[in-house]
Protein backbone atom coordinates (compact mmCIF):
# COMPACT_ATOMS: atom_id res chain seq x y z
CA UNK A 1 0.00 0.00 0.00
CA UNK A 2 2.61 2.52 1.08
CA UNK A 3 5.72 2.92 -0.98
CA UNK A 4 8.24 4.61 1.29
CA UNK A 5 9.03 8.20 0.38
CA UNK A 6 11.48 8.67 3.21
CA UNK A 7 14.58 10.53 2.01
CA UNK A 8 17.47 12.47 3.47
CA UNK A 9 17.10 16.25 3.37
CA UNK A 10 20.04 16.35 0.99
CA UNK A 11 18.38 14.03 -1.48
CA UNK A 12 14.92 15.55 -1.17
CA UNK A 13 16.21 19.05 -1.93
CA UNK A 14 18.61 17.84 -4.63
CA UNK A 15 15.84 15.92 -6.39
CA UNK A 16 12.89 18.22 -5.96
CA UNK A 17 14.12 21.83 -5.80
CA UNK A 18 15.44 23.20 -9.08
CA UNK A 19 17.08 26.51 -9.90
CA UNK A 20 14.43 29.00 -10.97
CA UNK A 21 11.61 27.22 -9.12
CA UNK A 22 8.89 28.96 -7.20
CA UNK A 23 9.34 27.59 -3.69
CA UNK A 24 6.99 28.02 -0.75
CA UNK A 25 8.18 27.13 2.74
CA UNK A 26 4.99 27.67 4.71
CA UNK A 27 4.22 27.61 8.43
CA UNK A 28 2.91 30.69 10.21
CA UNK A 29 5.22 31.31 13.19
CA UNK A 30 4.71 27.59 13.95
CA UNK A 31 6.55 24.72 12.19
CA UNK A 32 8.84 26.85 10.05
CA UNK A 33 11.04 24.66 7.88
CA UNK A 34 14.46 26.02 8.85
CA UNK A 35 16.28 22.76 8.15
CA UNK A 36 14.90 22.69 4.60
CA UNK A 37 15.83 26.32 4.03
CA UNK A 38 19.35 25.66 5.23
CA UNK A 39 19.72 22.72 2.85
CA UNK A 40 18.62 24.94 -0.05
CA UNK A 41 21.33 27.43 0.98
CA UNK A 42 23.88 24.63 1.32
CA UNK A 43 23.13 23.30 -2.15
CA UNK A 44 23.48 26.84 -3.54
CA UNK A 45 20.19 26.86 -5.39
CA UNK A 46 19.77 30.00 -7.47
CA UNK A 47 17.11 32.28 -9.00
CA UNK A 48 14.32 30.94 -6.81
CA UNK A 49 11.04 32.77 -6.48
CA UNK A 50 10.38 32.49 -2.77
CA UNK A 51 6.76 32.61 -1.62
CA UNK A 52 5.77 32.87 2.01
CA UNK A 53 3.20 34.86 3.99
CA UNK A 54 5.78 35.92 6.56
CA UNK A 55 9.30 35.76 5.16
CA UNK A 56 10.87 35.84 8.59
CA UNK A 57 14.34 34.71 9.63
CA UNK A 58 14.50 31.74 7.31
CA UNK A 59 13.94 33.82 4.17
CA UNK A 60 16.23 36.55 5.52
CA UNK A 61 18.94 33.87 5.68
CA UNK A 62 18.11 32.36 2.29
CA UNK A 63 17.93 35.71 0.54
CA UNK A 64 21.17 36.86 2.15
CA UNK A 65 22.70 33.61 0.88
CA UNK A 66 21.69 34.58 -2.63
CA UNK A 67 19.24 31.83 -3.53
CA UNK A 68 16.38 34.11 -4.62
CA UNK A 69 15.56 36.58 -7.36
CA UNK A 70 12.03 37.38 -6.19
CA UNK A 71 9.87 37.36 -3.06
CA UNK A 72 6.08 36.92 -2.86
CA UNK A 73 4.80 37.79 0.63
CA UNK A 74 2.38 39.60 2.93
CA UNK A 75 4.37 40.54 6.06
CA UNK A 76 8.04 41.13 6.20
CA UNK A 77 9.50 41.09 9.69
CA UNK A 78 11.13 39.38 12.61
CA UNK A 79 7.95 38.69 14.59
CA UNK A 80 7.96 40.44 17.93
CA UNK A 81 11.48 41.78 17.35
CA UNK A 82 11.79 44.08 14.34
CA UNK A 83 12.79 44.16 10.70
CA UNK A 84 14.51 41.72 8.38
CA UNK A 85 17.80 43.34 7.65
CA UNK A 86 19.11 40.94 5.02
CA UNK A 87 16.02 41.39 2.87
CA UNK A 88 15.83 45.14 3.45
CA UNK A 89 19.36 45.51 2.12
CA UNK A 90 18.16 43.91 -1.10
CA UNK A 91 15.11 46.22 -1.35
CA UNK A 92 16.13 49.68 -0.15
CA UNK A 93 18.14 51.42 -2.89
CA UNK A 94 20.43 53.16 -0.38
CA UNK A 95 21.57 49.79 0.95
CA UNK A 96 22.19 47.97 -2.32
CA UNK A 97 25.79 47.15 -3.11
CA UNK A 98 27.04 48.83 -6.31
CA UNK A 99 25.69 46.95 -9.31
CA UNK A 100 23.57 44.66 -7.15
CA UNK A 101 20.17 43.74 -8.62
CA UNK A 102 17.38 44.57 -6.19
CA UNK A 103 15.13 41.75 -5.05
CA UNK A 104 11.90 41.74 -7.01
CA UNK A 105 8.86 41.79 -4.74
CA UNK A 106 5.19 40.92 -5.17
CA UNK A 107 3.12 41.93 -2.19
CA UNK A 108 -0.30 41.01 -0.78
CA UNK A 109 -2.10 41.12 2.54
CA UNK A 110 -2.29 37.95 4.65
CA UNK A 111 -5.74 37.07 3.38
CA UNK A 112 -4.59 37.76 -0.14
CA UNK A 113 -1.75 35.26 0.20
CA UNK A 114 -4.02 32.69 1.86
CA UNK A 115 -6.55 33.22 -0.91
CA UNK A 116 -3.88 32.76 -3.57
CA UNK A 117 -2.87 29.40 -2.11
CA UNK A 118 -6.54 28.45 -1.71
CA UNK A 119 -7.25 29.22 -5.37
CA UNK A 120 -4.16 27.22 -6.30
CA UNK A 121 -5.23 24.28 -4.14
CA UNK A 122 -8.79 24.38 -5.47
CA UNK A 123 -7.89 24.60 -9.15
CA UNK A 124 -9.64 27.97 -9.44
CA UNK A 125 -8.49 30.76 -11.79
CA UNK A 126 -9.03 33.35 -9.02
CA UNK A 127 -10.31 33.78 -5.48
CA UNK A 128 -12.56 36.69 -4.51
CA UNK A 129 -12.08 38.60 -1.25
CA UNK A 130 -13.27 41.74 0.52
CA UNK A 131 -9.88 43.31 1.02
CA UNK A 132 -7.90 46.11 -0.66
CA UNK A 133 -10.76 48.62 -0.92
CA UNK A 134 -9.34 52.17 -0.92
CA UNK A 135 -5.77 51.05 -0.30
CA UNK A 136 -2.63 51.49 -2.38
CA UNK A 137 -1.99 47.75 -2.62
CA UNK A 138 -3.74 47.19 -6.00
CA UNK A 139 -1.62 50.04 -7.40
CA UNK A 140 1.56 48.44 -6.06
CA UNK A 141 0.57 44.99 -7.35
CA UNK A 142 -1.36 44.74 -10.62
CA UNK A 143 -2.27 41.12 -9.83
CA UNK A 144 -4.81 42.39 -7.30
CA UNK A 145 -7.79 43.06 -9.56
CA UNK A 146 -11.39 44.16 -9.16
CA UNK A 147 -14.17 41.68 -9.89
CA UNK A 148 -17.88 42.28 -10.11
CA UNK A 149 -20.34 39.92 -8.47
CA UNK A 150 -22.83 38.35 -10.88
CA UNK A 151 -25.48 38.56 -8.15
CA UNK A 152 -25.22 41.78 -6.19
CA UNK A 153 -23.65 44.43 -8.44
CA UNK A 154 -20.90 44.68 -5.84
CA UNK A 155 -17.33 45.00 -6.97
CA UNK A 156 -14.81 43.31 -4.74
CA UNK A 157 -11.24 42.14 -5.39
CA UNK A 158 -9.70 38.93 -6.69
CA UNK A 159 -6.24 37.40 -6.53
CA UNK A 160 -4.86 34.76 -8.90
CA UNK A 161 -3.88 31.22 -7.85
CA UNK A 162 -0.38 30.64 -6.50
CA UNK A 163 0.90 27.22 -7.57
CA UNK A 164 4.45 26.73 -6.29
CA UNK A 165 6.72 24.30 -8.08
CA UNK A 166 7.64 23.03 -4.63
CA UNK A 167 5.99 23.48 -1.26
CA UNK A 168 7.90 22.46 1.86
CA UNK A 169 6.13 22.05 5.18
CA UNK A 170 7.28 20.91 8.59
CA UNK A 171 4.95 18.75 10.69
CA UNK A 172 4.74 16.87 13.94
CA UNK A 173 4.42 13.49 12.23
CA UNK A 174 3.88 11.58 9.00
CA UNK A 175 3.98 7.98 7.87
CA UNK A 176 6.43 6.73 5.24
CA UNK A 177 3.90 7.39 2.49
CA UNK A 178 3.66 11.05 3.44
CA UNK A 179 0.31 11.10 5.20
CA UNK A 180 0.91 14.08 7.46
CA UNK A 181 -0.66 15.27 10.70
CA UNK A 182 -0.38 18.65 12.37
CA UNK A 183 -1.95 20.17 15.47
CA UNK A 184 -1.69 23.63 16.88
CA UNK A 185 -1.54 26.48 14.37
CA UNK A 186 -2.36 25.23 10.87
CA UNK A 187 -1.46 28.39 8.96
CA UNK A 188 -1.89 27.83 5.23
CA UNK A 189 0.19 24.66 4.91
CA UNK A 190 -2.62 22.50 3.59
CA UNK A 191 -3.50 25.00 0.90
CA UNK A 192 0.15 25.61 -0.05
CA UNK A 193 0.73 21.85 -0.33
CA UNK A 194 -2.32 21.11 -2.46
CA UNK A 195 -1.43 24.08 -4.66
CA UNK A 196 2.09 22.77 -5.39
CA UNK A 197 3.42 20.50 -8.11
CA UNK A 198 5.83 18.84 -5.67
CA UNK A 199 5.66 18.56 -1.90
CA UNK A 200 8.36 17.88 0.68
CA UNK A 201 7.18 17.07 4.19
CA UNK A 202 9.71 17.39 7.01
CA UNK A 203 8.71 15.77 10.29
CA UNK A 204 9.75 15.54 13.87
CA UNK A 205 8.68 11.91 13.96
CA UNK A 206 8.06 9.14 11.44
CA UNK A 207 5.10 7.06 12.59
CA UNK A 208 3.42 3.88 11.52
CA UNK A 209 0.53 4.19 9.11
CA UNK A 210 -1.71 2.86 11.89
CA UNK A 211 -1.06 5.98 14.00
CA UNK A 212 -2.31 8.17 11.17
CA UNK A 213 -5.30 5.96 10.45
CA UNK A 214 -6.31 5.96 14.13
CA UNK A 215 -7.18 9.68 13.86
CA UNK A 216 -7.92 10.54 10.22
CA UNK A 217 -9.42 13.96 11.08
CA UNK A 218 -5.94 15.19 12.04
CA UNK A 219 -4.44 14.54 8.62
CA UNK A 220 -3.77 17.82 6.84
CA UNK A 221 -1.91 16.49 3.81
CA UNK A 222 -2.39 13.04 2.23
CA UNK A 223 0.55 11.02 0.94
CA UNK A 224 -1.07 11.27 -2.49
CA UNK A 225 0.45 14.71 -3.04
CA UNK A 226 3.73 14.16 -1.17
CA UNK A 227 7.00 13.43 -2.99
CA UNK A 228 9.43 13.08 -0.09
CA UNK A 229 9.31 12.63 3.67
CA UNK A 230 12.34 13.90 5.57
CA UNK A 231 12.78 13.00 9.22
CA UNK A 232 14.55 15.97 10.80
CA UNK A 233 13.94 16.30 14.55
CA UNK A 234 14.25 19.93 15.71
CA UNK A 235 14.19 20.93 12.05
CA UNK A 236 11.91 23.87 12.86
CA UNK A 237 14.32 25.45 15.36
CA UNK A 238 14.44 28.39 16.20
CA UNK A 239 10.69 28.35 15.52
CA UNK A 240 8.62 25.84 17.45
CA UNK A 241 6.62 22.65 17.22
CA UNK A 242 3.45 22.56 19.28
CA UNK A 243 3.87 20.05 22.08
CA UNK A 244 7.50 19.28 21.25
CA UNK A 245 9.52 22.45 21.77
CA UNK A 246 9.11 26.17 22.32
CA UNK A 247 10.21 29.01 20.12
CA UNK A 248 13.85 29.84 20.90
CA UNK A 249 13.26 33.53 21.38
CA UNK A 250 16.88 34.18 22.19
CA UNK A 251 17.77 33.37 18.61
CA UNK A 252 15.12 35.76 17.24
CA UNK A 253 16.66 38.52 19.39
CA UNK A 254 20.21 37.51 18.43
CA UNK A 255 19.36 37.56 14.74
CA UNK A 256 18.76 41.31 14.78
CA UNK A 257 22.38 42.31 15.46
CA UNK A 258 23.73 39.43 13.37
CA UNK A 259 21.71 40.48 10.35
CA UNK A 260 22.47 44.18 10.64
CA UNK A 261 26.02 43.57 9.46
CA UNK A 262 26.36 41.75 6.15
CA UNK A 263 29.76 40.32 7.10
CA UNK A 264 28.53 39.01 10.43
CA UNK A 265 25.51 37.52 8.72
CA UNK A 266 27.67 35.75 6.12
CA UNK A 267 29.92 34.42 8.91
CA UNK A 268 26.82 33.10 10.67
CA UNK A 269 25.80 31.29 7.47
CA UNK A 270 29.23 29.69 7.29
CA UNK A 271 29.18 28.61 10.92
CA UNK A 272 25.63 27.31 11.06
CA UNK A 273 24.78 26.30 7.51
CA UNK A 274 27.59 25.83 4.99
CA UNK A 275 30.01 24.20 7.42
CA UNK A 276 27.47 21.75 8.78
CA UNK A 277 26.34 18.68 6.85
CA UNK A 278 22.78 18.46 8.13
CA UNK A 279 20.30 19.25 10.86
CA UNK A 280 21.66 16.61 13.21
CA UNK A 281 24.97 18.47 13.24
CA UNK A 282 23.14 21.76 13.83
CA UNK A 283 21.31 20.26 16.81
CA UNK A 284 24.57 18.95 18.20
CA UNK A 285 26.22 22.34 17.79
CA UNK A 286 23.24 23.99 19.48
CA UNK A 287 23.79 21.76 22.48
CA UNK A 288 21.64 19.50 24.59
CA UNK A 289 21.14 22.12 27.27
CA UNK A 290 19.64 24.68 24.93
CA UNK A 291 17.40 22.06 23.35
CA UNK A 292 16.27 20.87 26.78
CA UNK A 293 15.41 24.42 27.84
CA UNK A 294 12.77 24.58 25.09
CA UNK A 295 10.75 21.60 26.25
CA UNK A 296 7.21 22.52 27.39
CA UNK A 297 5.20 20.91 30.14
CA UNK A 298 2.52 18.39 29.28
CA UNK A 299 -0.98 19.21 28.03
CA UNK A 300 -2.50 16.12 26.37
CA UNK A 301 -5.43 16.40 23.99
CA UNK A 302 -7.23 13.35 25.29
CA UNK A 303 -8.54 10.60 23.03
CA UNK A 304 -11.85 10.36 21.18
CA UNK A 305 -13.73 7.28 20.03
CA UNK A 306 -14.08 6.58 16.28
CA UNK A 307 -15.81 3.23 16.75
CA UNK A 308 -15.06 -0.05 15.04
CA UNK A 309 -17.77 -0.75 12.44
CA UNK A 310 -17.77 -4.20 10.82
Amino acid sequence: MSTSKVASMHDAVADLVRNGDTVAIEGFTHLIGFSAGHEIIRQRKRDLVLARMTPDLIYDQMIAAGVARKLIFSWLGNPGVGGLNGIRRRIEPASLAPGQVPLEIEEYSHFGMVSRYTAGAAGLPFMPLRSYFETDLPKANPLIRPIRSPFSDETIYAVPPLNPDVTIIHAQRADANGNTQVWGLLGCQKEAAFAADRVIVVVEELVDEAVIRADPNRTIVPGLIVDAVVVDPYGAHPSYVQGAYDRDNRFYLDWDPISRDEAVLQQWLRDWVYDLPDRAAYVEKLGAERIASLKPGSAPSGSVEYGDYR
Partner: protein, 267 residues
Protein backbone atom coordinates in the same frame (compact mmCIF):
# COMPACT_ATOMS: atom_id res chain seq x y z
CA UNK B 1 1.62 46.11 52.02
CA UNK B 2 -0.54 45.67 55.13
CA UNK B 3 -0.75 49.40 55.94
CA UNK B 4 -2.29 50.07 52.53
CA UNK B 5 -5.58 49.21 54.21
CA UNK B 6 -5.45 52.27 56.42
CA UNK B 7 -3.66 54.77 54.16
CA UNK B 8 -3.80 54.67 50.34
CA UNK B 9 -0.43 54.11 48.77
CA UNK B 10 1.01 57.11 46.96
CA UNK B 11 0.25 57.15 43.23
CA UNK B 12 2.89 54.96 41.65
CA UNK B 13 5.32 56.28 39.06
CA UNK B 14 4.82 54.98 35.54
CA UNK B 15 6.26 55.39 32.07
CA UNK B 16 4.46 56.87 29.10
CA UNK B 17 4.42 53.50 27.40
CA UNK B 18 2.74 52.05 30.44
CA UNK B 19 0.14 54.81 30.41
CA UNK B 20 -0.48 54.17 26.71
CA UNK B 21 -0.96 50.44 27.22
CA UNK B 22 -3.24 50.94 30.21
CA UNK B 23 -5.36 53.55 28.41
CA UNK B 24 -5.70 51.28 25.38
CA UNK B 25 -6.73 48.34 27.55
CA UNK B 26 -9.43 50.43 29.24
CA UNK B 27 -10.95 51.33 25.87
CA UNK B 28 -11.77 47.64 25.44
CA UNK B 29 -14.33 47.68 28.27
CA UNK B 30 -17.62 46.28 26.99
CA UNK B 31 -16.12 44.79 23.83
CA UNK B 32 -16.64 41.13 23.07
CA UNK B 33 -14.39 39.85 20.29
CA UNK B 34 -11.01 41.38 19.63
CA UNK B 35 -8.53 40.66 16.85
CA UNK B 36 -5.12 40.92 18.47
CA UNK B 37 -2.19 42.38 16.54
CA UNK B 38 1.50 41.93 17.15
CA UNK B 39 3.41 44.19 19.58
CA UNK B 40 1.65 46.87 21.66
CA UNK B 41 -1.89 45.68 20.82
CA UNK B 42 -0.94 42.25 22.11
CA UNK B 43 -0.03 43.53 25.58
CA UNK B 44 -2.94 46.01 25.76
CA UNK B 45 -5.49 43.32 24.91
CA UNK B 46 -4.02 40.85 27.34
CA UNK B 47 -4.17 43.53 30.05
CA UNK B 48 -7.82 44.29 29.21
CA UNK B 49 -8.73 40.62 29.56
CA UNK B 50 -7.22 40.66 33.06
CA UNK B 51 -9.00 43.90 34.06
CA UNK B 52 -11.90 45.68 32.34
CA UNK B 53 -12.93 42.95 29.86
CA UNK B 54 -12.60 39.46 31.37
CA UNK B 55 -15.19 38.16 28.86
CA UNK B 56 -13.14 39.39 25.92
CA UNK B 57 -12.55 36.67 23.35
CA UNK B 58 -9.05 36.96 21.92
CA UNK B 59 -8.73 36.19 18.23
CA UNK B 60 -5.25 35.82 16.74
CA UNK B 61 -4.82 36.00 12.99
CA UNK B 62 -2.61 32.91 13.21
CA UNK B 63 -5.86 30.97 13.58
CA UNK B 64 -6.86 31.05 17.24
CA UNK B 65 -10.23 31.90 18.77
CA UNK B 66 -10.73 32.19 22.53
CA UNK B 67 -7.05 32.14 23.47
CA UNK B 68 -6.15 31.97 27.15
CA UNK B 69 -2.42 32.63 27.05
CA UNK B 70 -0.67 31.51 30.21
CA UNK B 71 2.14 33.98 29.52
CA UNK B 72 2.40 37.11 27.38
CA UNK B 73 2.69 35.69 23.87
CA UNK B 74 6.09 36.45 22.38
CA UNK B 75 4.51 36.79 18.98
CA UNK B 76 1.04 36.46 17.53
CA UNK B 77 1.83 32.81 16.85
CA UNK B 78 3.15 31.80 20.25
CA UNK B 79 2.29 28.21 21.32
CA UNK B 80 0.78 29.58 24.54
CA UNK B 81 -2.15 31.01 22.55
CA UNK B 82 -2.96 27.52 21.25
CA UNK B 83 -2.86 25.41 24.39
CA UNK B 84 -6.18 25.91 26.18
CA UNK B 85 -7.81 27.91 23.38
CA UNK B 86 -11.41 27.34 22.35
CA UNK B 87 -10.72 26.76 18.67
CA UNK B 88 -7.69 26.56 16.38
CA UNK B 89 -8.41 26.82 12.67
CA UNK B 90 -6.68 27.40 9.35
CA UNK B 91 -5.85 30.98 8.42
CA UNK B 92 -8.31 30.78 5.53
CA UNK B 93 -11.08 30.05 8.00
CA UNK B 94 -9.92 32.71 10.44
CA UNK B 95 -9.85 35.46 7.84
CA UNK B 96 -12.92 34.27 5.91
CA UNK B 97 -15.32 32.96 8.56
CA UNK B 98 -14.41 35.24 11.48
CA UNK B 99 -13.09 38.52 10.05
CA UNK B 100 -14.69 38.78 6.61
CA UNK B 101 -17.97 37.37 7.98
CA UNK B 102 -18.11 40.31 10.38
CA UNK B 103 -17.68 38.56 13.73
CA UNK B 104 -14.85 40.77 14.98
CA UNK B 105 -15.86 43.71 17.15
CA UNK B 106 -12.47 45.35 17.50
CA UNK B 107 -9.39 45.16 15.35
CA UNK B 108 -6.34 46.57 17.07
CA UNK B 109 -3.71 48.10 14.82
CA UNK B 110 -0.43 49.87 15.04
CA UNK B 111 1.28 51.66 12.13
CA UNK B 112 4.28 53.68 11.11
CA UNK B 113 2.24 56.62 9.82
CA UNK B 114 -1.26 57.94 10.44
CA UNK B 115 -3.05 60.94 8.96
CA UNK B 116 -5.73 63.12 10.50
CA UNK B 117 -8.48 60.83 9.18
CA UNK B 118 -6.99 57.69 10.66
CA UNK B 119 -5.65 56.22 7.42
CA UNK B 120 -2.63 54.05 8.19
CA UNK B 121 0.66 53.16 6.55
CA UNK B 122 2.65 50.13 7.60
CA UNK B 123 4.18 49.39 4.21
CA UNK B 124 6.89 51.82 3.24
CA UNK B 125 8.50 55.20 3.95
CA UNK B 126 9.32 56.95 0.69
CA UNK B 127 8.28 55.76 -2.78
CA UNK B 128 7.02 52.18 -3.02
CA UNK B 129 9.44 51.28 -5.80
CA UNK B 130 12.49 52.89 -4.19
CA UNK B 131 11.81 52.88 -0.47
CA UNK B 132 13.69 54.94 2.07
CA UNK B 133 12.58 52.44 4.71
CA UNK B 134 10.89 49.22 3.86
CA UNK B 135 8.34 48.37 6.62
CA UNK B 136 6.67 44.98 7.24
CA UNK B 137 3.67 45.62 5.01
CA UNK B 138 0.01 44.84 5.52
CA UNK B 139 -0.06 41.42 7.11
CA UNK B 140 -3.72 41.36 8.10
CA UNK B 141 -3.92 45.13 8.68
CA UNK B 142 -5.56 45.95 5.36
CA UNK B 143 -8.46 43.54 5.84
CA UNK B 144 -8.78 44.24 9.57
CA UNK B 145 -9.29 47.94 8.79
CA UNK B 146 -12.00 47.01 6.30
CA UNK B 147 -13.78 44.19 8.11
CA UNK B 148 -13.44 44.62 11.88
CA UNK B 149 -16.49 46.50 13.14
CA UNK B 150 -14.29 48.99 14.99
CA UNK B 151 -10.62 49.74 14.68
CA UNK B 152 -8.50 50.82 17.62
CA UNK B 153 -5.10 52.30 16.86
CA UNK B 154 -2.21 52.35 19.28
CA UNK B 155 1.01 54.20 18.41
CA UNK B 156 3.51 56.65 19.84
CA UNK B 157 3.19 60.25 18.70
CA UNK B 158 5.92 61.88 16.65
CA UNK B 159 5.97 64.33 13.81
CA UNK B 160 7.34 61.55 11.60
CA UNK B 161 4.40 59.28 12.25
CA UNK B 162 1.46 61.69 12.66
CA UNK B 163 1.80 63.12 9.18
CA UNK B 164 -0.15 65.31 6.77
CA UNK B 165 0.01 62.71 4.05
CA UNK B 166 0.94 59.09 4.52
CA UNK B 167 3.37 57.61 1.98
CA UNK B 168 1.27 54.51 1.31
CA UNK B 169 -2.26 53.64 2.35
CA UNK B 170 -2.09 50.14 3.81
CA UNK B 171 -5.26 50.35 5.91
CA UNK B 172 -8.15 52.65 5.04
CA UNK B 173 -9.47 54.84 7.85
CA UNK B 174 -11.91 57.70 7.30
CA UNK B 175 -10.40 58.26 3.83
CA UNK B 176 -10.84 61.98 2.96
CA UNK B 177 -13.43 62.54 5.68
CA UNK B 178 -16.40 60.94 7.43
CA UNK B 179 -19.04 61.61 4.79
CA UNK B 180 -17.04 60.10 1.95
CA UNK B 181 -15.83 57.20 4.08
CA UNK B 182 -19.31 56.33 5.26
CA UNK B 183 -20.72 56.37 1.74
CA UNK B 184 -17.92 54.19 0.38
CA UNK B 185 -18.05 51.72 3.26
CA UNK B 186 -21.81 51.36 2.94
CA UNK B 187 -21.82 51.04 -0.84
CA UNK B 188 -18.99 48.52 -0.77
CA UNK B 189 -20.59 46.36 1.90
CA UNK B 190 -17.66 46.72 4.30
CA UNK B 191 -18.25 45.21 7.73
CA UNK B 192 -16.26 47.93 9.42
CA UNK B 193 -17.24 51.41 10.48
CA UNK B 194 -13.64 52.54 10.55
CA UNK B 195 -11.32 53.77 13.26
CA UNK B 196 -12.89 54.77 16.55
CA UNK B 197 -9.97 55.56 18.83
CA UNK B 198 -6.27 56.33 18.67
CA UNK B 199 -4.38 55.82 21.91
CA UNK B 200 -0.91 57.37 22.05
CA UNK B 201 1.75 57.95 24.67
CA UNK B 202 0.31 61.45 25.19
CA UNK B 203 -3.45 61.08 25.07
CA UNK B 204 -6.63 59.52 23.73
CA UNK B 205 -8.11 60.61 20.41
CA UNK B 206 -11.54 59.87 19.01
CA UNK B 207 -12.97 60.90 15.63
CA UNK B 208 -15.38 63.81 15.34
CA UNK B 209 -18.35 64.10 12.97
CA UNK B 210 -16.07 65.16 10.11
CA UNK B 211 -14.02 62.00 10.59
CA UNK B 212 -10.97 63.81 11.92
CA UNK B 213 -9.01 62.89 15.04
CA UNK B 214 -9.83 64.94 18.13
CA UNK B 215 -7.89 64.82 21.39
CA UNK B 216 -10.40 63.93 24.11
CA UNK B 217 -8.09 63.03 26.94
CA UNK B 218 -4.59 64.07 27.93
CA UNK B 219 -2.38 61.67 29.84
CA UNK B 220 -0.90 62.76 33.19
CA UNK B 221 2.37 64.60 32.63
CA UNK B 222 1.70 65.33 28.95
CA UNK B 223 1.10 68.89 27.73
CA UNK B 224 -0.83 70.30 24.79
CA UNK B 225 2.40 71.83 23.51
CA UNK B 226 3.91 68.39 23.40
CA UNK B 227 0.84 67.06 21.63
CA UNK B 228 1.07 69.78 18.99
CA UNK B 229 4.80 69.40 18.49
CA UNK B 230 4.42 65.69 17.74
CA UNK B 231 1.80 66.10 15.04
CA UNK B 232 2.38 67.43 11.54
CA UNK B 233 -1.01 69.15 11.36
CA UNK B 234 -2.87 71.52 13.66
CA UNK B 235 -4.79 69.05 15.81
CA UNK B 236 -8.34 69.39 17.04
CA UNK B 237 -8.59 69.49 20.81
CA UNK B 238 -11.87 68.72 22.57
CA UNK B 239 -13.59 71.62 24.34
CA UNK B 240 -14.17 69.15 27.14
CA UNK B 241 -10.64 67.79 27.30
CA UNK B 242 -10.31 65.25 30.07
CA UNK B 243 -7.34 64.06 32.09
CA UNK B 244 -6.64 60.36 31.64
CA UNK B 245 -6.68 58.71 35.05
CA UNK B 246 -3.23 57.42 35.95
CA UNK B 247 -2.62 53.67 35.89
CA UNK B 248 -3.70 51.95 39.07
CA UNK B 249 -1.28 49.95 41.12
CA UNK B 250 -2.96 46.75 39.98
CA UNK B 251 -2.73 47.71 36.30
CA UNK B 252 0.97 48.44 36.70
CA UNK B 253 1.54 45.24 38.62
CA UNK B 254 -0.07 43.20 35.86
CA UNK B 255 1.97 44.92 33.15
CA UNK B 256 5.25 44.71 35.03
CA UNK B 257 4.99 41.35 36.70
CA UNK B 258 2.77 39.26 34.47
CA UNK B 259 2.67 40.69 30.98
CA UNK B 260 5.99 42.32 30.27
CA UNK B 261 8.47 41.43 32.99
CA UNK B 262 11.31 42.05 30.54
CA UNK B 263 10.08 45.56 29.82
CA UNK B 264 10.14 44.96 26.07
CA UNK B 265 7.06 47.06 25.35
CA UNK B 266 7.03 49.33 28.35
CA UNK B 267 10.49 50.84 28.54
Amino acid sequence: MTDAVVAPAPAPAFSRSEMMIVAAARELAGQRVCFVGVGLPNIAVNLAKRTVAPELELVYEAGVFGAQPARLPLSIGDPTIVTGATAVVSMFELFAFYLQRGLIDVGFLGAAQIDRFGNLNSTVIGPYDAPKTRLPGSGGACEIAINAKNVFVIMRQSARSFVKEIDFRTSPGNLGGAEQAEAIRRAGGWNGRGPSVVVTDLGIWHFDETGEMRLDSLHPGATLDEVRSTIAWEPKISEHLEATPAPTGEELRLVREELDPGGVYTK
